[in-house]
Symmetry: C2
């Protein structure tokens, strides 16, 4: 599949590399078509990897991942362009974290909204699926490295087919437990969960962990 | 130990009954000293159980549980009285849920505050410990009924001795994994987690579940 990645940070690079390894063609998008981090990544990730602007990546991908930091997400999606994302799945991995007052960060969204909903409102013809924002980048692509893979990842979005497509990619990463939380407003649940994730990381002294629901 | 319970709902009754079973003396407090639910509970729960006003319960208990619904919590704590709670542990089990717009409920607190912090500010000489608000009442007192007890409960508060006292009670309920998340501001993490808990309950069709962190 042709996949666009918005963002050049650890999350974008880790997902991009894994997707190339799985045989996908991946274009990493940045504000500039010649972004140095994207260039270094494309060189290292191999033949299926390329780079461009946010708009280039969105136009290239049949499916796109938003891997920007939360504060930059809406600008990146705007630069990607509603026309380039029309009818496409946009997997939103970002979190509305505000680090301006130190650690642990606070949320810049209100208590009853979410960044994913803001993004869905900005590109109403894209099919936003919130996913993977609840784990560290290394866990995203290597769930088996935590507790034998016996832990959970979530999908939330308004389009059932889009969630199925994302679930298929998650399974190709090795995820055993993909929990569908409902429509895109369920992103409120997984984005605010970051507050608990951050506290747990502080106690566990590692980002390589996850939650598992049991009954 | 003498324990006060603020609130007459399912959580207060379930905790109160368990505490009486464990040999504690428990006074359930309500707005009225003759509250019918508290009277019925005190009659059913046995010799260690009694009832009174919020102030009676707070004065009676060496340690108190706030089991009111979130919207009523600050009024109940005010009625209990700062003098009656001075120097005492106040375990806050409430959640800032607003059901006025239907299900799932929203939060009535802002993104970067918590009900526990509001309560701590209202009674600065009490030692507020947020705990047990992340599970259903039946799971609070019977953690072994879920996945053999292999799941987590949290404590958050500013006083280490208070958290130790609460942890001892939790262990007497059967909790194996009590996670100290830090000071009372960590209640932001466990209160907003309710949004995820509620979505999970909707999918699992039961409140008898919990989360377990694995690494």
């Amino acid at each position: 599949m042709k996949i666009g990645i918005l963002g050049t940070g650890t999350v974008g690079q880790t997902l991009g590399t894994k997707l190339v390894e799985l045989g996908h063609e991946v274009k990493m998008g940045a504000r500039s078509a010649t972004n140095e981090k994207a260039a270094a990544w494309a060189k290292a990730a191999g033949a299926g990897a390329s780079q461009g602007t946010f708009a280039d990546a969105a136009a290239f991908g049949g499916l796109c991942f938003n891997c920007t930091n939360g504060a930059a997400a809406l600008d990146a999606v705007a630069a990607a362009g509603a026309a380039n994302l029309r009818g496409k799945v946009l997997v939103d991995v970002s979190n509305p974290l505000d680090f301006s007052k130190g650690f642990p960060p606070s949320l810049f969204t209100g208590p009853n909204e979410s960044l994913a909903e803001r993004i869905q409102a900005a590109v109403p013809d894209a099919k936003v699926v919130k996913s993977l924002n609840t784990v560290a980048a290394n866990v995203m692509v290597s769930p088996g490295s935590v507790a034998g893979g016996e832990h959970d990842v979530f999908v939330a979005g308004n389009d059932a087919d889009a969630k199925r497509a994302v679930t298929e990619i998650l399974r190709s990463f090795g995820w055993k437990h993909v929990v569908d939380l409902g429509d895109v407003s369920a992103a409120r649940a997984t984005e605010t969960y970051l507050l608990l994730w951050l506290r747990m990381m502080g106690g566990l002294k590692t980002p390589t962990f996850n939650l598992h629901f049991v009954k």
